[in-house]
């Protein structure tokens, strides 16, 4: 389950990457632009521009194994979540809204740091969006330092 602290962290414009793998255990990365925890905080829905999904759908059909790293590039605070995908497909209107809201806040944060030089990037990321929902089974701290790799969910694992 996602802690309230982690839900708050995810409300920030942090960078996220989804990892999947094929039947031969060759992994692949997919950039994530937005996420929404379920009401019970046991699952997370990710928004991925369809132009970036690569082989993701065939990987999910094959095995559903996922890992997600989320990192605040300003503070270097980072977490990794692992689990199994339960649903994927074209984003519905609510998921599209999650993506659009994230994109607005993410690029606003980038613009504060890098100025108008990021304007080209805004047009490089677009719809349609593919949504992936997975059950969160494990959570790890990935903030650089001695605590990196510590498992924080399930507690006592």
């Amino acid at each position: 389950m996602l802690s309230e602290e982690l839900v708050a962290f995810l409300s920030n414009p942090v960078v996220g990457y989804l990892g999947t793998r094929n039947g031969e255990k060759f992994p692949e990365a997919h950039r994530v632009y937005g996420w929404r925890p379920s009401q019970d905080r046991r699952s997370l829905t990710l928004c991925i521009p369809t132009q970036l999904v690569g082989n993701m759908i065939s990987h999910l059909n094959d095995n559903g194994q996922v890992a997600v790293t989320v990192v605040d590039m300003m503070t270097n605070d980072a977490y990794q979540l692992k689990g199994k995908a339960s649903a994927w497909g074209e984003a519905d209107p609510q998921e599209l809204e999650v993506y659009r809201s994230f994109k607005t806040s993410f690029f606003a944060a980038l613009e504060l740091k890098f100025g108008e030089g990021i304007n080209a990037l805004k047009s490089a990321v677009g719809e349609p969006i593919t949504a992936v929902t997975f059950e969160v089974r494990e959570i790890y701290v990935q903030t650089p330092g001695p605590g990196a790799g510590k498992q924080i969910y399930p507690e006592g694992a």
């Binding site: 060759f26 950039r31 990935q142």
Partner: protein, 135 residues
């Protein structure tokens, strides 16, 4: 001599020094994602990645040498996807020394001095490079 996979455009993205994500996979098929500070160009068929403290990644590549690295191109917004195969770790020599120096500069610039420490330069064979998205 194999095909050149790392052309001038790819080298530009690597040289920009944007943090990248590395995805590995354990022998029993569980992916692992982590941010890496450094992607280092060795030659047109090889890259080196900084091994600092991500022990799960190291365990995974010993079990399964195939990994994927994605690096964001800040000029175009594209993602450059590298399919790599782990070959060996180097703890001395020119590549290690150059990466150690670069990592210290990155650590200083990001407030991570004393935390970022290069344990090894991990050498990977480049199997494929793919560009996704971007303008």
């Amino acid at each position: 001599m194999g095909e050149t996979l790392i052309d001038a455009d790819v080298r530009r993205v690597i040289a920009a020094g944007t943090p990248a994500v590395l995805v590995s996979c354990s022998g029993d098929g569980v992916p692992n994602t982590t941010i890496i500070s450094q992607v280092y160009y060795v030659d047109d068929r090889h890259l080196a990645l900084s091994f600092q403290f991500f022990s799960k990644t190291i365990r995974n590549v010993r079990e399964n040498p195939n990994v994927c690295v994605s690096q964001f191109d800040v000029e175009t917004g594209a993602e450059h996807m590298f399919k790599l195969r782990y070959l060996r770790s180097e703890t001395e020599g020119d590549v290690f020394d150059e990466m150690d120096m670069q990592l210290e500069a990155i650590a200083s610039a990001t407030g991570m001095s004393g935390i970022f420490k290069l344990k090894a330069a991990d050498i990977y064979e480049v199997l494929d490079v793919d560009r996704r998205g971007g303008v």
